[in-house]
Structures are given as structure tokens and as C-alpha cells.
Symmetry: C2
């Protein structure tokens, strides 16, 4: 019987590429997406497309309203998302407090329920957006907490593992890898805003454009 | 300005007593309750009563459906909750995978948003129901993950602290403490089942009855 993996799948570049990596390993896949009041829910349609395309066993869509307490621009229409600036040294106002911790906790709950040993998350500390919860130190601490806080009866007690394959990779390396895995990046969404076309000026659009340029690949979304 | 604390408040014995302890410290209080498909939502009414009684600054009620993936008896009407047995050595079928990790993660997100340094949780490993996520090792690992995964700009970077004041206390000690703090236990609910009266036979009812008896206090709920 194939080993199982839960993949955090937002529908952006990183998580989509992570999904294809997990698929290449031959794992039975469980995808997990969140509706958390983000303004750019077009991502979710992309997540669904890839989940269907790769035939994941189950795609969980969990509704979790950070807006009840979070004041970040990413989940609040009233607040302007800052214009992109990849040289900024402070945390951008799109930061959602403890988001990856919440996402990984729920992934761990699902992993324990279905008996999955692996949790994939597409974070990167080499080329990231200034978020504290995209660092190796956090991923390691979280893996330990997951193993202390779950029973893993379905995996005979074998520890869970958080796989963050892009932790020390640039987005350009990631895209090159994704292309080799057959990822169709036309079905990914990075822009922090909604709408039919990427805005081209937010942090996420700037990071994406730079990454495609450095990978020498044309962005099929543009 | 008073320091702030987020208190995980289910409306049961433990979390209610924890709320009164945090109140005694003089913290500005933020209570956090979950609607997670538990069958005994009467707890929530108790949580609201105490939050109002102590004048907490804000009571968050977060809807999070573990039922989408969890198969435990606590969240599934179709599954019978096991009859209580305090001598059982296996995990009871009311165990919800990684529940306290998910709860603490969301508490951390709120704590970061409001600038709270303390998170209170009423778990106990001395007198608990056989759940892995009620142990000190888990609480410590989670505190570390929280501090690696949050920014704490509102607390000038000072680390967050998980307070689990009953970790090494029995429920009887807890009740004695609660009585001295003025907790009205008539407004707490422990039974895993819904209904107007506690069933008296589930694990949680048995633990509660034993604790009140050992504390030499009459349970005002009965």
C-alpha cells in the first residue's frame, strides 16, 4: 500500500509545485486548501484544477475565517495591500499572524486521521516575502510539536515528517523543477488581488515575474 | 497598560478555572471558544456565561469543522461514545486528532494580533483522559513552535508563554482552587453528550464526579 501525504495546496506557484513533487514520490495524495477570507480566492480554483488533474484521493477545503481577529491587508478589503517592494526589510502588511502554524496543525490533524506520514508545504526562506513562519527554524519546531501532539496509530507510531522541499531553493529553481515535472503554471495564481489578470505590482506579482525571468521560462499566465 | 492573555475556553471545568486564574493575574482577557462539531454544544453557553461574568475584552467563537476529516465519536453522531472507563489504557474513541495543536495555533494567531503574551490552556497530564496532546512534552514543543512562528511586534518581541496551570494538578485540586476563586461550577459542562442533564456514565462525567468527590465539594450541576 502506498504511503500517504497531505499537501498544503493554495494554488500558488510553491504549493502547486510541491504537489507535483509529492506525486512523483508515488504517495497517495490528500490536498488541503483554506478559505480564510483571502481576497484572491481565484487561487482556490487553481488548487482544484491541479488536485483533479493529478487525481488526488481527497481534496479538503477548510473554511477558517482569520478575519474575525486578523487585521492584515490580505484578509481585509478595507486595508490597501502595499505596493510591491522586494527590497523592503520590514514585514509586509499582507502577513497573516501564525498562518502557517494554523495550516500545519490542521494538516497534522488530517494526516493523523488518514494515516499519512508526510506533510508538504511550499515555504521558502531563500526567496520569501519576509514572513517569519517560512523559516527552517519554524518548520523544525513545528515538526517536533506535531510528533509530540499526535498519536499516529495508523502509521504504527512512525513519526510524521514535514517536507518543505523549497526551503533553501529560489523560486526560479522551483519553477525549473516544476517545468520538468510537467506543472502547467497557467493554472496557478500568485497576485494578492482578485480579478481576471494579475495586478503586476504587488509583492507576489513581483516575486513571480522575477522568478520566471531568472528561470528563463515564460509565464503562461501573462 | 495591563498585559493581555488569550484563554482557551470550552466551558468545561478545566478551561473555566483557567479563565479565573488568568483573571486573578489582572490580565486583559481574550477568550477563545471553538464550534468544532462537538455534540455537546451546551459547553459553549457556559463559556459565554463566564466570559460575560468576568467582563472579558473579547470572546472569539471560531467555527472549525473537524467533522470534515475526523472520525472520532466526539464529533460524529453516528458513532457511539464509549461508556466511561477510567481504568482504560488505550486512547478513548472521543480523541479528536491534534485538537489542542489546532486550538493553540489559532490562539497564537489571536495572541499575535492583539499583542497578548500569555495563552492559557486547561490541560492536565496528572488526571487526564488518555489524550497525547495533554502532556507537558507537547505543551513545551508547541510553545517553542509558537515562538519560532510568530513576530510579536506588539509585545516588542518578548516571547509568548503557554500557561497550563493544571498540567500537574488533579481535577480535585483544580476544583478546590476554583472554589476559592469564586467559580460557579453550575455554569460548566463536562458530559460528552448533549441534553439537559449529564449522562453520568461517559468518561468525562466519571472524571468530574470523582474530582468533586475527592475535593469534598458538591457538584452544583447535579
Amino acid at each position: 500500500m502506498a504511503e500517504k501525504a497531505v499537501v498544503l495546496l493554495s494554488g500558488g506557484l510553491d504549493s502547486t509545485t510541491a504537489l507535483y513533487l509529492a506525486h512523483r514520490e508515488g504517495y497517495e495524495l490528500y490536498a488541503l486548501s483554506f478559505l480564510y477570507g483571502q481576497l484572491h480566492d481565484r487561487e482556490l480554483l487553481c488548487a482544484r484544477w491541479h488536485a483533479a488533474h493529478l487525481g488526488v484521493k481527497k481534496h479538503y477545503e477548510v473554511d477558517l475565517s482569520f478575519t474575525a481577529w486578523d487585521t492584515s491587508a490580505l484578509t481585509n478589503e478595507a486595508k490597501m495591500i502595499e505596493e510591491g517592494n522586494l527590497e523592503r526589510t520590514t514585514t509586509p502588511n499582507t502577513y497573516v499572524p501564525a498562518r502557517n502554524m494554523v495550516f500545519l496543525s490542521i494538516a497534522a490533524s488530517i494526516a493523523e486521521s488518514v494515516g499519512a506520514r508526510y506533510i508538504y508545504i511550499g515555504v521558502s526562506e531563500a526567496d520569501y516575502s519576509g514572513y517569519v513562519d517560512c523559516r527552517a527554524a519554524f518548520v523544525e519546531a513545528m515538526e517536533r510539536a506535531i510528533n509530540e501532539g499526535t498519536e499516529r496509530r495508523l502509521t504504527a507510531g512512525r513519526p510524521m515528517e514535514i517536507r518543505a522541499p523549497f526551503l533553501h531553493k529560489t523560486k526560479a529553481e522551483e519553477i525549473a523543477l516544476g517545468v520538468s515535472l510537467g506543472v502547467d503554471y497557467a493554472h496557478t495564481w500568485s497576485c494578492y488581488h482578485g480579478g481576471d489578470h494579475p495586478c503586476g505590482v504587488c509583492d507576489s506579482c513581483l516575486l513571480r515575474a522575477r522568478a520566471f525571468a531568472m528561470a528563463g521560462v515564460e509565464d503562461p499566465l501573462l
